[in-house]
Symmetry: C2
Subunit: 251 residues, 2 copies
């Protein structure tokens, strides 16, 4: 296998982003409207070319900042920002009709943002429930075919990102990435309920999360923003891997 630097097929490399948040009890993803062919007018995931001297993670963080204004923090940082990790790479030769494009998809988890499209191209970006973007439930089974309204293979990418998020909040403290810096146990429970699409017992959930070492740190304050008895405020603890894990209920 001789390695001839002048005889390799040229590729374009992009990063695409699955940016998830929880809004109004629903798991939502950031979608941008395409202004050009192909797939003109359809929704797509945000993304763009990797620059000539740019790492993949840097490119993903740059795109995230351009689209949302969020700064990515890699692991364990406490700054107000988003969790960002690599998801998977998509390189089917026909995935883009114009040329050979390999896309390194990334997954970002963000707290609910004040404005859906703070920076950048405002009127062409929005948060949409992932069920709608994946074509779940809005159409009956028409000859077994579910149609995603997303361009390219972005429906596949979004599905992979959602599944990664659903499984990863089981055994890591990643669910706190959907919460503001200070949050209550009830708010964290509503994150789990939205991401998994289930209803959890508030009493067992409370015992579980407060009993898992390193998951939550009491910040001292209380809040009553949910109504009812004031709840303690917590910050994310240092633990990244939860032991014992939060178990997703059986189907």
């Amino acid at each position: 296998m001789p390695y001839d630097p002048s005889a390799f097929p040229p590729f374009a490399v992009t990063v695409d982003l699955v940016v998830l948040t929880v809004r109004r009890h629903a798991l939502c993803a950031l979608a941008v409207r395409r202004g050009e062919e192909p797939y003109k007018g359809m929704w797509a995931l945000p993304g763009g070319f990797v620059r000539a001297n740019e790492d993949l993670a840097t490119a993903a963080a740059r795109e995230l900042a351009e689209e949302t204004g969020l700064r990515a923090h890699d692991q364990g940082s406490r700054s107000p920002g988003a969790h960002l990790e690599q998801l998977a790479t998509y390189g089917d030769p026909d995935r883009d009709p114009r040329m050979r494009v390999v896309s390194v998809a990334h997954l970002a988890l963000a707290p609910d943002l004040p404005s859906p499209t703070a920076g950048g191209d405002a009127r062409s970006a929005r948060w949409a429930p992932v069920d709608a973007l994946l074509g779940v439930g809005d159409a009956e089974v028409r000859e077994g075919e579910y149609k995603s309204p997303l361009a390219f293979d972005h429906g596949d990418i979004l599905a992979a990102g959602v599944e990664r998020a659903r499984s990863k909040i089981e055994y890591s403290s990643l669910a706190t990435a959907f919460c503001p810096p200070e949050f209550t146990v009830g708010e964290l429970r509503r994150v789990y309920e939205a991401v998994w699409g289930v209803v959890l017992d508030p009493r067992n959930f409370h015992r579980k999360v407060t009993g898992t070492p390193g998951f939550l740190l009491p910040s001292g304050g209380t809040t009553t923003r949910q109504g009812g008895r004031p709840a303690q405020l917590f910050r994310a603890g240092g633990a990244t891997l939860l032991n014992p894990p939060m178990l997703r209920p059986e189907v």
Copy 2:
């Protein structure tokens, strides 16, 4: 963000393979010796360029066949072959000194093969214990620096593949990918012990794996190839996700 197909930086895209197997009670990886600069004479992971009209998974399967003669089966196939899945993508601008190369790493799990290098470039490929390739244990901590003998960033890639395998055999039936088509509970246990680097109780292990629905299917025969009382032979069952999972012992 205008999308100009003529103004994208060109990349080379390769696939690199972490091929794992269990030999003589040790987790081993396939390594090839580099015949050219840079890193001439060092060990590296097998890999190569993705062709112009080739999918990433196809390229990985082709490289795997070229290096080992193994055919990859994606999910759930029963043919004698290897498990193959995408691992992660590495694209640091400086990872290859010659040019900008993005490598899509894949993880392959294979049963112990009769000959280390059946096909291809025989004398320059071998199975090596992953601990040796990662520089674990063979040198004392010299100023906190562990040196992997692998070229490029292949030490990082191998470490990621090993960790993926270690965690994935917990909650999936992937450990059977290290076994021949028919195997005993004791052989499967030795796979877990080699991959995790622990000693497991044979009695509890037996109860656990035979009690997990869909994990193992009795094939009817017995064998005595391990000495002692003859053991039942099993095949991998249809289940891919184990419930309950096999729990790795605490550290």
